[in-house]
């Protein structure tokens, strides 16, 4: 128990770094997911195919190898990223690709009737997209969002292998020094679990607040 108290600063700093990486890579991933999701529905064939290739590439790479490459291999092209930058960019790229599938699925789930109704009323394509389709698609994205967030959270732990001083990295350090395996790792697992629960609760809350106009509970689908 004392070991936990002594190590608390390391654990705290590790948690802060984990959260920082989590939030930053989430922002990058969200932007990429929306962008790619939209591009994949573009009317221009070349754009659609290019976006698809990009997505398939980043969905197919191993996150660990990707982070490793950005940190250790990129310098050979003259670009030297800090470990944290490499982690944020790597996670953002990979989870942006995964996210684009969620976005695409959500947009397709909005019934084609909505497009037809909007066209009949004289909306332009862009107007329809932004004021009719996206709001509905956004709500459809929420259920898978919880899952994606957890995947991303677990991804931040991978950053430890490129020496980002996040929670997993710190915990391995502490255990190496103190050999107090059980208390440290249990504490760390609980911290991750806590963050995961907080994330999913937030998404549920968002689902409920924004989905008020829906007749049935969102989980029924």
């Amino acid at each position: 128990m004392d070991v936990l108290i002594d190590a608390r600063w390391l654990i705290l700093s590790g948690t802060i770094v984990s959260l920082r990486v989590f939030v930053l890579s989430f922002l990058l991933a969200a932007v990429l997911a929306l962008l790619l999701g939209l591009l994949r529905q573009s009317s221009i064939r070349f754009v659609r195919v290019a976006a698809m290739c990009w997505v398939e590439f980043f969905r197919g790479v191993s996150t660990a190898v990707q982070l490793f490459w950005l940190y250790f291999a990129l310098p050979f092209f003259g670009i030297s990223l800090t470990a944290e930058a490499a982690a944020v960019i790597g996670l953002g790229l990979v989870h942006g690709a995964y996210g684009s599938e969620v976005v695409r699925g959500a947009m397709q789930s909005v019934s084609i009737d909505q497009w037809e109704a909007a066209t009949a009323l004289g909306y332009t394509r862009r107007q329809t997209l932004f004021s009719i389709i996206l709001p509905q698609a956004f709500i459809a994205m929420l259920p898978p969002l919880g899952n994606s967030l957890i995947l991303l959270l677990k991804g931040t732990s991978i950053a430890s292998i490129i020496t980002v001083p996040e929670l997993t990295f710190q915990s391995a350090l502490i255990v190496d020094r103190t050999l107090a395996v059980l208390p440290i790792f249990t504490c760390v697992l609980l911290i991750y679990y806590g963050i995961a629960i907080a994330a999913t609760r937030t998404v549920s809350l968002l689902e409920r607040r924004l989905g008020r106009w829906r007749p049935q509970p969102l989980s029924v689908r």
């Binding site: 398939e56 590439f57 197919g60 790479v61 191993s62 996150t63 660990a64 190898v65 990707q66 490793f68 490459w69 250790f72 291999a73 310098p75 050979f76 092209f77 957890i150 959270l153 677990k154 931040t156 732990s157 991978i158 430890s160 292998i161 997993t168 915990s171 391995a172 255990v175 395996v181 059980l182 790792f185 760390v188 697992l189 991750y192 679990y193 995961a196 629960i197």
Partner: protein, 220 residues
């Protein structure tokens, strides 16, 4: 820039490591498929306390990073007198972690079978075991294939994490080569490409399996 000659020369070493990666992935996958079954049964137990506890454990394991779980077991087991090789530890952690995912996949598959099928089996006086064997299981398998396949590929791509407990798999070898020759570009790029190609191939195989299963009776 990219030294192709160098890349070619290290390919054999990486290829050998690929075997380790595949062995770990495939054994963990099959173990996960097995572990998922008792977890599912416990989760669906009539006893509220049992199902709630199981749900909690499954949730906990799924929501926490596999790397921490890996370290945990790797460092904790010797303290209890259990000495497992790094590979065995890796397979154990992967199979339990993904076993939890599989139990949820099984659960979703079970729930995808329409309620009416169960009703009909009661009406025809089919026993519970016969209902599962002849009616429910064959219908459950169809949605399980893509989900399980998806996790297989995920598992495959997470094997580099085992490098941190010194399992000699693909990324371990690339990092070793990189440190050895002071050139990381070629080994890691090759490693990445190998992963990419193999996961795309696997995705294709899964889609084929999905297409082939039950194509006689499904409205394709």
């Amino acid at each position: 820039m990219f030294d192709f000659a160098f890349a070619l020369s290290i390919l054999p070493q990486l290829a050998v490591a690929t075997v380790t990666t595949l062995v770990v992935t495939i054994s963990s996958f099959f173990l996960a498929l097995l572990i998922g079954v008792p977890l599912l049964l416990l989760r669906r137990s009539g006893w509220h306390s049992v199902s709630r506890t199981t749900a909690g454990i499954i949730d906990f394991i799924r929501c926490t990073p596999i790397l921490v779980q890996l370290y945990f077991l790797y460092f904790a087991m010797p303290e209890f007198g259990i000495r497992l090789s790094p590979i065995a530890t890796g397979i154990l952690v992967f199979s339990v972690h993904y076993g939890c995912y599989m139990s949820e996949v099984y659960r979703a598959g079970l729930e995808s079978v329409p309620r009416g099928q169960w009703d009909v089996c009661v009406a025809l006086s089919l026993s519970r075991s016969e209902t599962y064997r002849s009616v429910v299981l064959p219908q459950m398998i169809y949605p399980i294939i893509p989900a399980a396949g998806n996790y297989l590929v995920h598992m495959f791509k997470e094997t580099p994490l085992l490098a941190s407990i010194s399992v000699v798999e693909m990324m371990f070898v690339s990092a070793e080569i990189g440190a050895d020759r002071f050139r990381y570009l070629e080994p890691i790029t090759l490693c990445g490409l190998l992963f990419l190609l193999m996961s795309i191939a696997a995705a294709g195989l899964i889609r084929t399996a999905e297409f082939l299963y039950g194509r006689r009776w499904r409205r394709v």
